[in-house]
Structures are given as structure tokens and as C-alpha cells.
Symmetry: D3
Subunit: 304 residues, 6 copies
């Protein structure tokens, strides 16, 4: 009969025993319990893909024509901004909720209160976009004025990595100030991967900020940077040491990074460490290791 | 009636007032006029996506089998090269036009003259591909000879980031010499994001050039590099200072980067600044800060 | 007649002569013979796209819920691990074969022996995944304990670039020990491009390893790193010089990188060169250039 | 200054007035209120894309190896079924909820009760998959036995449109019996578009059912079909007339289609209309118009 | 040397001679001149992909929420309509130009006059969208009232193939009346492939038109259909014969299809041929062949 | 400790028991053995996606400029044909092998003999493409001459469904004559789904063949159609009855469909059944049921 024929020709490609027992081993609770994320029911995970779209939407609102639909004009501007804001709100509300739920414990908050909160935070973020755009405009002006190779504002917005990194920072910083967990850090790591510039969302950065080339720049969580500051590639604003608690673990969240006052320039590959202050107008040469205060107006250079 | 029923069940999800007024604010001309690109009618914007395809097509012509269709053979080579050149010409003509139009003012050039010019430049670029391929072959040989970890030419072409960065540089440099605006810079920034190596398209670089590891390398707009030069990660060929014009703005385009003569080696994280010359066969150790001429054959090392 | 009409309206857009002759030139054997890869019949090329999926599958087995399907739970774990292991074996066998064939000469091995070998190696790699997962767990713990800005294990797995770089290294290292050519290097270069961290698959690295920020880190082929070692951005473990053979070419594969013992910390942008040893518990400050042994427990800092 | 220059070169591409006023007109509430769907807050719309994946997942569970991952084997079967069932449950729960919410009025049901209901229905559907698979197996056997052109069971599962249409019908019918609104109809329309076979999910169809070629077949909502029935392309089982209510509108949902008993054959393009019965073993020739009962065993043919 | 080694291991996979000579044969002008389209320089080909997006955009403007972004609400309606109209105009202008250029002869029109014309036609089409939406609303009402299985307007818009076919027809018909060549026919063939309903864009169709099931319906170029007409699957409104010109070729474009007056119902698979008239309120039974006038109010049924 | 905290917050979303036991049931061998395809090791399954690309490549070789790259010109024709033939050969060889392996029994053929055979068949198919192109050219001419609505050859190639269906038929028929199993049937079903026209690859069809509208056309496995034949939608060339073997099963593969001689026209929805002959120049009216020979030159019409 047909069935017998069909059965006889089965010549299955067997999975070998070693793979089989490895699957068993990898599926044991003890083995995966610390490296496996468990979402609670109906609580979404943050999505790298959606966060990429959020960054893209924000950029298209902040720099219309350069990002998003290139054909925008003053008369159609409102339509494009409207649609982008509408979608940004939807996606951001969802990712904020995902961020809140990432580490939340059962029973901590009711679902509906988290949803209401996420909606409010998304709105509050969007309300700040006009101010973020103004700040980014000052960063573009600073990059243009500071780089002899720059031909136009457009060139800077379109292809300078520093503008991408600073945009992500200003977005992530605004979300952090609205107490959104996890999401700001993911957004800043996206720029880190794209540009090699690692700015912690917790840092404070003034207007007219610019970073030339940028690969290897690190700006730590509690760094404070004034207005009109310029940095080159490889500059670190880092922590010198971490105070430990009585169990020998680092105390989380306390100030440990430098304060850079207005009008400072820091040349490539220099490292500024600890809770020191670099005073107004100071110029730090390249390849330096600074862990004490620098007075205003000082010119530091590598000894030879 | 049906219509009434339909009407009554409308329970629209309203956009809240704060979003609504933020959209208004973000759509005001004063707010976006400096951060919004305005293309002229029928003038395309440069497209990052198309430029990525242009780089990919160029690589598949320069290194057939490694990039593009892997199944190419000597007998089918002409078909593959023919199709790739045909498409490269089409896309490049379009992006060159987009680059020319990016900052052009109304009435500057007639559309048809820009199109004719873009067509000519695209052709002139393609005509140089055999020479670019020869130069890149020397770069592959240099990487193979200089790295004890390299097993074959193929490994270098297939996975060394320096070859990707130098390929983009040689492409971008050729386009810049044909007076294409903006596009060369975008192509070099693509390699910068992919590899952490930032080579300005305006730099001049000889044959047998190699960069090991590469992250953090910066080579400035007016740097001139001889033949058989090797660099390691984190090396900067930068500007020391920018001459200012009478308004206090940096003068654009003048020479401000080093000249590196033939057979020089520069170890990791060293910084060479200003219009100095590093002489034939010099060896610059790591982590150095050099802003004066280095004589031919000198061996520089960090003092301790 | 119809045909004539059709014929007459042909107004072909001609390919110009310069493009035509350039295609000829680019298709000449002498021009491409050294930059063109030739696969043997039925021997696949390694595929960057497939290798990306292999890395993604490995990550989803090692860190279930963070990578791959977010909705995995203990009860469904076995299904997800099973499907991912099944596909990983299939793809890996194929890429291992591609790696083996990349440089193999005709007649070197029969097809069926290469296929059998690739199958065995893929299985042997998968059998090691439980151990690789344990090692990566120690790396996560080290990152959590060492960074005051880290809020949870989850945050570290989800967005710290060092975990991505170390994961790729541990995968590539296991494949290299199974004598797979080329593929390990491509996998480590993927992490290099994504994170700016360049770890050669040949390096030996112990448990509880962590890299903060990471951009610009280079760890060479013969470096050996103990347990509980921490590094910051820009650190190089490099070669000091290459012994040459009698033809003046570097001797491939011999030891030329440092040995870092347990519990060492190396701050940002320091360079450790040559076959030296940094002893247990030593602390190397930032921006240093080290090419001699460092005793256990020493604290090295930049002189000023 | 820079700003003035930038301002002056704006030469915006204006949206013309006719488009502008048409947008206004199309955005007026009166114009769109009857053709615009309004979801309630947080109530998803059914998604054609997700429903396509649901059909694809169901097919890969019902016919493993033909649909979904081709490399499944008896030893890996459980893993593949497990992952597919897990994902099918997730997507189906979401689409069932979307279907329930599509026409629901505010306040009708609490969100959580709809979610719980959707979860239960999705589970109940999946529990029926083994029975659905058995029924589909009988349909495959019938197609094989009835078509001299069929070479194997595999050929039928792999490329006969009738199997695709009947699979979608059996899935949609099960969902309809679980009181899922809208979704079953969308699933059957997918098969209609793919195959030209339009089977309403409300129809009742026995085992060993087969349709040859199939384009143009229509089987109405209240049709009942016995076991071992065969149809050809263009056959309609339709309604003869619709009883109207006192307002002159058709009464929805009452029986109005034929009953086809076991072992009936209906040749191409015949139309069977109304609540008639075609008796066991009857053969209806092609191009016939039947609106009265056909006795068991009758042979009907077109008069000439 | 290295080069020699590389050379020796070349073992190219040769293209066989039969393929080689077939390529030659397929590339000869005589062989392809009648089956190859030649665009003039800078004249785009119509693009099926772009036309699909045009249909999708039109549907999202006509039925907001059902097609396109599901999250549209009255307050955000204007933004969504604005963006969609803006993009529709851009794409349509381009495709209209492509349609005009498809058969145009060199020198027929200047490029700039074709562009201006395409822009005007695209605008004129968009201006008609509010009227097209009103007409489609009547079609939805007719489908709802005529089908006892229909549960809501929403179900009809979302999944009835007739609404998709009629939407494409009303779009294609408007474009044809604006003298756009080729494009209307492609748009109606898209619906034909999707639904099995083939309505020529040249047909004239009144309000409240509905087709049940629809597979196999054909409505010819010069058919005229009144208001409130209903059809079932397989109905043809065709030509009886084609008057020939003196060369024996059919005369193109003259009236050759039926006129269907208001309130007519035509049951499944009936064929109405030639320039006849079916009078107001007539009912045509199924499977009939009609090639003479049918008086108003007549009830036609198949003889048995 | 950290681990305990992590452990405690696990609140896994459990898979419910009903799903769990259904997975078990669906994974039992008895349940899936007849509906699951088992490939032998290293024997690929036919891939619908690859077969779609094969059809697309064939169309771009047969109708250059209409399908595939629109920018082809006589001077670049050879490059495009060369690349397309090269890839077509590669994909076709692989799918032919998959077709041969689909039902093959273990040990039937060695792998290498199947590979060699597949390579030969793929080449033999490609060698026939010039002849297939000539035949399709006659079909285009016939469609143009027969349809008063057709404006140009280009319109017919670009958007007439009959050309797509006949192209797939001529491709599938050539493959069937080269004894390729399964693949031809999948290719003809692709056209069936796209156009509603179902032509069995085994049918024999002469030059200048055309089908108007086409939905619902069925042409059976052993039908033979002469030159210059025209059909309309819904025409069936079917089998009247199937001779049974002594077990009561239909005898596979024997002649059972009509022979249509040259110059015949068959109007819509007519059904021609059995091994009859319709003589040269006969005209079959619409909606007819023909199961006896029709003499040459006869005009058949529906009686009324």
C-alpha cells in the first residue's frame, strides 16, 4: 500500500548523540538561571530594532531633510513632524514600559499604572525636543567654526560622527532625567558602536560642544562639561578610584568624574581622572594624564 | 441606521494637547531653518544607502570573488565586471549630481550642465579603477609581509579592517580629485564607522601602505604619506594649530598636517602634529607626541 | 509593419567607449589574478551573513532571552535550545567547510573527508557551549562588580560592548583550538567592528575578564591573560618586534605578546609590549608604555 | 554672518495650493467617518502580516519538512514543534484579541477578561491541531488517489493549491467554532487570493475532500459537505435567495446553501444553489445549474 | 615567491562552452530586438514596486486606519493624510512620466514639458480623491447590504476582495481619464492577480457597485455599468466580435461591450456579450449566455 | 548575595499543560510519518524562493529590459545576459538536484552522478532559451493582433497575465522534457497562483498561442494544442474519465485530454473534455460542454 511505501523510504538524517546530550545540559535550570532573562507575562523586552527606529525618528524631527524623508519643505513640515511625533510617542511609550519592567519585581506596580507613567514620560520627552534641537544647533555651529575642513553646516549634520554621538547623548540624557531605566544606556551604546564615542547618559554637557574625529572618547557618568568645550579623539573623562562600601563593593552612583569649565580644549588621547576641575579656558595638550585640578587659563603640554 | 451606529461607537484615542502644541512649535520656520536641509526641485539628496552600494560595487570590481558574486571565474569575469561597471556608473552619476547640488545656489548651473558634468566625472572615476586596484594590491602585499599573524593574501582582503579603510580612502580620494563635493567625505566616514580608522579623503598616501588593528587612527586633510609606510592603532597625523583670519575664524584648506616620508613605521597611539616632516626610514615608538621634524633613519622612543 | 516601427524607435542609450575599454582592462587575467578569489567547484566561500547568524545563534544559546526569542521560559527552554543547536550545527558545518576550502589546494582532501571533518568539528564546538557559558557568566559577574554605573547583570548582558567582544572571542578561540582556519578571525573582526575591541582568537584569557568602555583595545595572538583581569579602553597587549627569517620575512606564529597574571588592572591607553610578564595583582596606570617585566603587586603610574 | 547666508539660499520646493486644499478636504471628519477604522486605546488592529505568519506556522506544524525548516528529523521533531507551538500561541492570542476588539464597543469587556479569553481560545485551537492534521492527511490521500497526474503524497502537499486552500479552511473553521470574529474570514481570503478557491470558514466539510485545479470554486457559509467529495474548478455551492426582514434587508446567518452528501463528484463550473441536498454518490456533470434536490446515485449531465 | 604560489593554486571552475555560445546567441541584436525594451536616456521605466506603493498610499488615504498606519485618529488625521498625499504626488509624478515615455519616440516632447505635464496630472488625480472616496463608500454600503454573511462595514473594507478590485479600478479609471498611458492597465492587472477580478480601466461604473466572491469576473474596456449593480463570480461583460479594418486587423478602441443599466443583478458565470443593453432592474440567472438586449425588469434563467 | 536576588525575582511565564501535551502528541512518529518530508543527508529540498528567482532570471533573459535591470542596452546586453545565465545555471543545477532527490530512495544514485546529471540538464535547458524566446515572441504577436485594447508589444510583455503564464509553461515544459521531476509542476503552479491560469507542464502547445483575461483556464497534462490558437477565460481542456487499473486506481500518465488543431478559437468558460479532436479553424462559443470531436471549420454556439 501507499503508506508502507512511504514508510520504507524514510531514511532520516539523525541528530547525533553528542548534540542531543548537549541540548539537555544547556537546558538545565542551574546552567541558565543567571544568564537568561525572564520577562513577566505581557511585559515586553526592550527591542534594539525599535530603539533604532526611535533614534531615527528623533533625528528626523531634530534635523528635518537630513534624516527621514528628504523631500520635506516648510509647507509640508507640519505633516511630517506630526506623523513622526505620533509614531515616536507610540514607540517610546512601549520601550519606556519595557525599560521599567526590565528589572521590576512581581507586584511592584500594577500594569495600568506603568502604562500611564510610560505615556506621561514619552510626552514629557517630546515636549523637550524643541530645546534639544536648539542645543544641537549650537553643537553644529561649534563644529563648523572649529574645523577648517568643514565646508557647511549641512556637511556637519550629514556626516560628522560627533553630531550623531551628541544627538544620542542629548536624547538619552533627557530620558534619564525622566527616570527611564536601561533605555538611555542602550541609546548611548548605539552611538558608541557607530562612532567609537562613549558618552554616559548621566553626564552633564553644555552648549556649543564639539568632538573632532572622536574614536575612543569616553565621558563618564558624573562628568560635568561647561559651554563651548572642544575635545579630540581618545580623550577620557574617567574615574580615578571607586570608594568601596564595607563589603568591599564599589559604592554605586557617587560623583567620581571631572568637572570641565567653559571654553576648555582637550587634545587627543589625554586622560582626565577623578573629581577634579579644569578651569575656564584651559588648554590640555595631547597624551596627558591629569588627576589634579587645572587652573583657569592654564596651558598644559606633555613634557619631553 | 447603520451610519448612526458607526458614529456612536467612535471612541477615538486622542492625541494629547502637549504633543499637539509641540508639533506646532517644531514646525515653526524660525526653529528649523538652520537644521533643515532644503533640496531644490528635482535635485536629489545624497543617499547613504546608495553610497553603500557604490562602495560595495567598487569593492566587487577591485577584489572580484571576495566581494560581490563569489562564483566569478576568469571566463565569466568580463560579464560580472561589465554589469558592475554599468550599474556603478549609473549610481555614481546620480550621487555626484546630488553632491554638486547639495550646496549649490539657485541659478548657479543649469540642470543639464550638471548632469553632463556628473556623467563625465563618473566615467573618469571608473577609468581610474585599474590603477586603484594596482595600488590596493600593494597595500595587501604590505599587510601580508608585515603581520606574522597573516596566513594568506585572501585572509587580508577578506577580513582586515585596514584594507576596507584604505579602499574607501583610495575611492574617496579619486572622487575628491575630480572635484566632487561632500560624497568623498561620506565615503570615508563610512569606513571610519566600520573600522575606527578616520582617513580624510584629501590626504595623499603612497603605495604599500598598511595600518595594523587601526582603531583610533586619524589622518588629516593635508597629510602626505610616502611609500611603504606602516602604522598601528591610535596614531594621529593631526594639525597643531589653525591660522586664523582677521575675523578670528580658522582659515580653511591650508596645509597643517605632517609629511611622512617613505619606509616610516609609527607605533601605536603616537601623535604627529603640524607641518613637520618625518624622514625616510624613521621609526616612531608608541605613545609619543611629536611636533618637530624627525630626521631620516631616527629611532624615537618614549623616555622613562 | 509592426516590426519596422519597433525597430525605428530604438534610440539606445549607448555605453561610452571609455567605460567599454575599462571593462576590458579590468577583466584581464594579469590585472585581477592576485586580488581575485577562486573557489574550487562546489566549494562554498565563507559568508559574512551566515557567520553573523552563527554568532547570533550562539549568543541566543548562551544568553537565552537576551538574544534570540525573548519569550523563552524554563519549560520551553529545551525546545528553543534544541532548534537553535540544530541550526547552529548545520550552518557551522557549512562555514567550517568553507574555511577549510578557502586556501586548500586541489587534490589536498577529498570532498567527503572534508565534509565529515566539518561535521565532527561543529559537534565538538557545540559540546563546549556549556563551558563557554560558564566562563561568560564569570565575565558578567566581573563587569557587574567592577563598574559602579552597572545596575544589574541584565544591563551588562544587554548593552555592554565588552560582553559582545568577549563572547565572540570565546567562540572564535574554541573554533581555533579545533583547527578551523579563517572563520575564527572573521568572527573576532565582527566584534572589532561592532565594539572597537580587537581580541585575536589565538589569545588565552582566563575567567572573570572585563574590559571597560573598550574602544581601541588590542590583544595580540600569543597574549596570555590570567583570571580576574580588568582593562580599560585603549589598552594594547602587543608585539615588540618580529624575529625575521633568513629571507627577512617575519617568522609566523611564534610567541611575541605579554603574559598578564591573575588580578591585574590595566588603565586606559597603556601599551604592554613583548614577551614580558605582568605579575599577579599589579596595577598599570594609564598612558604607560611597558616593555619590561612588572613584578607582582607593583603599582605603575605615569611620571610627571 | 553664517545664518544669513543659509537663509538666503533657501529656495523651497513649494507644495501647490490644490494639494494643500485637498489634504484639508480629505481630513474632514464628515468625509472619513465611515471609511476610517478607529481602534480603541491599546487595542491592536488585526495584522495581515502576522496572520500570514500564523498560517505559515500552522502549516509547518501540520506538514513538518514541507513548510518551515526543511531539516527537521524525528529526533529533532519535538524541538521544532515546541518552538512553533510556542510562537503560534503568542501570535494567535494577540490576533484573537485584535479580532475581538475590532467591533467591540467601549466598556463591553474589561481588557484583562479579553486577554484571558484570547489566551484560552489560542490554547483550545492548538489542542485541535492533531485532529486537523489527521483530517488534512485524508485530503492528501484523496487528492493522490483522484489525480492520475499526481506522482506522490509529497508532490501534493508541496504544490497543490487545493491543499493550501483546505488547510486554511480547516484552520479558519476551527477558529470560527471557538467564536473568534473576523480573523477566520481573513485567513480564508488569504487562500482565496493565493488559489482562487473561496471557502467560507462557516462551511462544514468532511474527510477525504479534494478540489482539482480549483480556480473559481465558491463554497458558501452554510454549505455542508460529507466525506469523500470531489470538486473541480469553478464549482459554486451558493445561495439561491436571501429571505429579507421587514425592513427589506437580508436576514443574516440563516441556512441558505446546499448539503452535499458522501461520495459526490461535481465537475467543473457547475452551480448548486439553495438549501437543497445532493444525495450520496451522485455525479454532477460540468456547467450545470442545479437548484433542486438530486437523488442519491444520480448522474446529471448537460443537455445538448 | 608569493605570486607564483598564488598563481599555481588557481583551479578555476570553468564556464562550459555550451553556456558560452548560448550567451553569444542570446545577445545578438536580431534575437532580442522585438522582446527588449529600450528606454531613452534618463527616461525611467514604470516600476511595479513603486506602483504597488502608489496603490497602498491611495488606499491608506481612502480608508485611513484600515490601510497604512492603524493608529490614525481624527486629531492626527491631517498629518497622516498630508504626508501620504505628499509622497503619493512624488511617486505618481514619476510613474506618470514613465508611462508617457514608455512608447514615446525621440523628439516627441521635451523632457521639461513631460515633467510639467506629469506634475499637473498627478495633482489633478489627487484632487479627485475625495470623490473617489465617496464612490467607494457607496460600494461598501452595497456590499454590506447585499451579503448576509457580512458583519460590519469594517469587515468588508478589511477583507472583501471586491473592494480591493473596485478601488484599483476607480484609481486606474481616473488616471486613464487624465490620459495617462500604460499605468492604469498595470494597476488594474495588480488587482486582477490579487483577486481574480479583471476590470478594464476604460469601463464606466456607477455608484453602489458590488461583486460577490468575484474570481473570474471580466469587465471589458467599453462596458458601461449603471448604479446599484451587483455581480457574482465568473461574470463576463465581453465583446462579441471585433470589426476588422481593411487589413484584417481589429479596429482598436471602438465600443464593443454591453451597457448594464441601474439595479441589475447578474448571477455567477453568466456571459453578456456585445454592444447590447441590459435594462433597469433586470435579473440575469447563472451560467447564461446573453448576446441580445434584455428588457428592463426581465428575469432570465437557464432553461432546463 | 547577587545570585539569590536574581533567583528570587524569577517569575517565569509558564507554558500551560495543554500546550505541553499537544506538543508531545504532534511529535509522535505515527502522527507525522505521512505528512512530513524527510530529506536524505545533504540533499536539499526544492525551495520556492529560489524557484521564484529562477523564473525571474529566465524572464530577464527572455525579455531584457522588461524584467531584471531596466537599463540594459545593446552594448551592455552581453554582460547582463552573461551574468544572468551564469547565476541561472548555478541555481537551476541546485534545484534540479533537489527535484531528483525529492522522491529518490537511498542508494538509488550516487551523489556525484546526481550532481553531474543536474549540471548537464541545467546546461541543456539554457541552450534552449533562444528557441523559447522565439516562441514567446510569436505569443506576444498573437496577443497584440488579437486584442483591440492592446496598444503595443511592450504593454503586452509588461502587464498581460497570459504572457506570464505561457512563459512559465514554456520553461516548465522544457524542464519536463529533460526529465526533471517536481520542479516543472511547482513553476507552473506559481503562474497559476499569479494569474489564475493552470497549464500543466506536460501539455503540448504550438506557436502564436494566446489567452485573453485567462482566470480559470485549465489545460491538462496530455492536451495537445496547435499553432495560432486563442482562448478566453474559464476554458477547460480536461479529462472525461480515468481508466482504472484492476485495483480500482486511476492509471497514471495515459492520454486523456483533447487535441486542439491550428487556428481554433475557444470562447469563455467552455469545457472541452476527453481525447477528442477540435479541427482546424473551428470556433467554440462560450459556456459550452464539448465531449465529442468537432470538425474543422465548425462554429459551435450555445443553444437557446
Amino acid at each position: 500500500m501507499v503508506d508502507i511505501e512511504v514508510k520504507n523510504r524514510h531514511n532520516y538524517y539523525p541528530m547525533n548523540d553528542k548534540l542531543f546530550s548537549t541540548i539537555q545540559k544547556l537546558s538545565e535550570f542551574e546552567g541558565f538561571k543567571d544568564v537568561c532573562h525572564q520577562q513577566m507575562e505581557n511585559h515586553p523586552m526592550p527591542s534594539i530594532e525599535v530603539l533604532k527606529e526611535i533614534v531615527q525618528l528623533s533625528r528626523s524631527i531634530l534635523f528635518p531633510g537630513y534624516y527621514g524623508d528628504a523631500a520635506v519643505s516648510p509647507r509640508t513640515m507640519m505633516y511630517h513632524i506630526g506623523v513622526n511625533v505620533d509614531r515616536l510617542h507610540l514607540l517610546l511609550e512601549q520601550q519606556i514600559k519595557a525599560g521599567i519592567c526590565f528589572d521590576c519585581t512581581p507586584g511592584m506596580n500594577s500594569d495600568s499604572s506603568i502604562e500611564k507613567l510610560s505615556d506621561q514620560i514619552a510626552t514629557q520627552f517630546i515636549v523637550q525636543l524643541p530645546i534639544i534641537r536648539q542645543k544641537l544647533h549650537t553643537d553644529v555651529v561649534a563644529a563648523y567654526n572649529g574645523d577648517p575642513a568643514a565646508k557647511s553646516f549641512g556637511e556637519i549634520i550629514f556626516c560628522y560622527p560627533s553630531i550623531r554621538a551628541i544627538s544620542n547623548y542629548r536624547i538619552a540624557n533627557a530620558l534619564l532625567h525622566l527616570n527611564v531605566p536601561l533605555i538611555p544606556r542602550i541609546i548611548s551604546e548605539m552611538a558608541h558602536s557607530e562612532t567609537g564615542i562613549d558618552i554616559h547618559p548621566g553626564a552633564t554637557i553644555g552648549d556649543y560642544f564639539t568632538i573632532d574625529h572622536g574614536t575612543g572618547v569616553v565621558i563618564g557618568e558624573t562628568a560635568r562639561i561647561g559651554s563651548n568645550v572642544k575635545m579630540y579623539q581618545g580623550v577620557t573623562l574617567g574615574a580615578k578610584s571607586f570608594p568601596l562600601d564595607k563589603n568591599g563593593n564599589p559604592i554605586k552612583g557617587i560623583a567620581r568624574h571631572p568637572r570641565i569649565e567653559d571654553n576648555v580644549i582637550i587634545y587627543s588621547n589625554s586622560t582626565i581622572l577623578g573629581t577634579i576641575t579644569v578651569g575656564n579656558g584651559a588648554v590640555i595638550g595631547g597624551n596627558l594624564w591629569i588627576d589634579t585640578d587645572v587652573p583657569a587659563g592654564a596651558k598644559m603640554a606633555q613634557k619631553r
